[in-house]
């Protein structure tokens, strides 16, 4: 698919559709379609495999959030962060602090990698992804609420889709597969509640 060059249509830019087609903004080249999901999955699988081979550990994400929270609390109430167990576990060592942590560096990488990919594919765009029937404010409220609930769930389960589902799943960990089944089951069961947000 050749990028559209030159003068853009006078109408407002359409957001990328489910396949990633659509101009990012007037005059921009057309956003590239998304990659074959199986290929993307194989790519991610190979990255995870590299993590095992190089580091002897897998990927993760929610742990970085725990480190960030520990760092934040530590800057306001250092005693609390050192003595209360859920914070203390993420404080790292004295010299380097909570942010010199493997998962924090990994998540920074994820953020940069995602931005790079979007930029090169013409998908960098300010906006809000939501269904047609919900308002922007409503969507943002759901996003915050959903994030909060996921934060609690990830702490309880000691991981999220990256740490438990992908990493633990690929190692056939019992708890990780229980997590996957429970998460998918709950999400499907709860989906009727959020139809208005997405469809």
């Amino acid at each position: 698919m050749l990028p559209a060059v030159g003068a853009a249509p006078a109408t407002a830019a359409a957001p990328p559709d489910a396949e990633g087609h659509g101009a990012a903004r007037p005059g921009a080249r057309e956003a590239r379609p998304y990659m074959n999901p199986y290929l993307a999955g194989v790519g991610i699988g190979l990255v995870l495999l590299a993590a095992f081979v190089i580091m002897g550990r897998g990927l993760g994400a929610s742990g970085a959030f725990s480190s960030a929270v520990a760092a934040g609390v530590s800057s306001i109430a250092p005693e609390r962060a050192r003595t209360l167990e859920p914070y203390a576990a993420y404080m790292g060592d004295e010299r380097r602090g909570p942010l010199a942590d493997w998962l924090v560096f990994e998540i920074v990488g994820v953020t940069i990698g995602g931005a790079l990919s979007a930029w090169l594919a013409g998908r960098m765009r300010r906006g809000i992804d939501k269904g047609p029937r919900v308002s922007n404010g409503g969507r943002l409220a759901y996003a915050f609420g959903g994030g909060t609930i996921m934060g609690i769930g990830a702490k309880l389960a000691r991981g999220c889709t990256s740490g438990q589902a992908l990493t633990g799943g690929a190692l056939l960990s019992v708890g990780s597969w229980l997590f996957i089944l429970a998460a998918f089951a709950a999400a499907y069961a709860a989906s009727p509640l959020f139809r208005k947000e997405w469809t």
Partner: protein
């Protein structure tokens, strides 16, 4: 042939072969353990942890961790000894390394043999002396360190050590042998 077809065939073949490929050693918990963790485990359940000291006879006689038994450095002999002792593959087994050796080699052998909870305590004597026999809390330590110290001091006393608060930026003085000698002169059972 489409990409998806190729992927599916490769996955299918590798998956089918796996059916006949058989078993493989399992992944596990991290290798290194701290002296503090060993102390906690010993106090919580002295029979629930096996400590294997792979130092030579002389070093073992001079000092070894509570309840540590001597084990041969040779992996095959070490594994045989563990089997004879009736150790289960799920037991907590800690390899206490000597001064020059962190016990990793023996630990690797244990893990390869399926002891999923095998751990190693590098430079065990030094680590134990630092953490339990004569731990020191620097006088300028902050509140967080003091809170953690309470448990460490208690564990130290439990095992007959003498925890103390030192002068600012103090670390335990003297080498390990010195500190052990001093501990023994005080009548502590080391």
């Amino acid at each position: 042939m489409s990409t998806n077809r190729v992927l599916a065939i490769v996955a299918g073949v590798l998956g089918a072969l796996a059916l006949f490929g058989g078993d493989t050693p399992a992944p596990g918990t991290p290798g290194a353990i701290s002296a503090l963790e060993v102390a906690r485990a010993l106090r919580a359940d002295p029979d629930g942890i096996r400590i294997l000291d792979v130092e030579d006879e002389g070093d073992y006689a001079r000092f070894h961790l509570p309840r540590a038994v001597r084990a041969p450095a040779d992996p095959a002999a070490l594994l045989a000894g563990l089997e004879d002792a009736g150790a289960g593959r799920g037991d907590l087994v800690v390899v206490a390394g000597g001064a020059d050796d962190d016990g990793r080699a023996a630990w690797l052998a244990l893990r390869r043999a399926g002891y999923v909870h095998a751990r190693y305590l590098p430079h065990a004597t030094d680590a134990w002396v630092d953490a339990i026999v004569s731990p020191v809390l620097p006088a300028d330590a902050d509140a967080g360190a003091r809170a953690a110290w309470a448990e460490q001091a208690e564990l130290s006393r439990y095992f007959g050590g003498f925890p103390r608060v030192g002068s600012p930026a103090d670390t335990a003085t003297g080498d390990t042998a010195d500190r052990l000698r001093r501990a023994r002169r005080r009548g502590c059972a080391f």
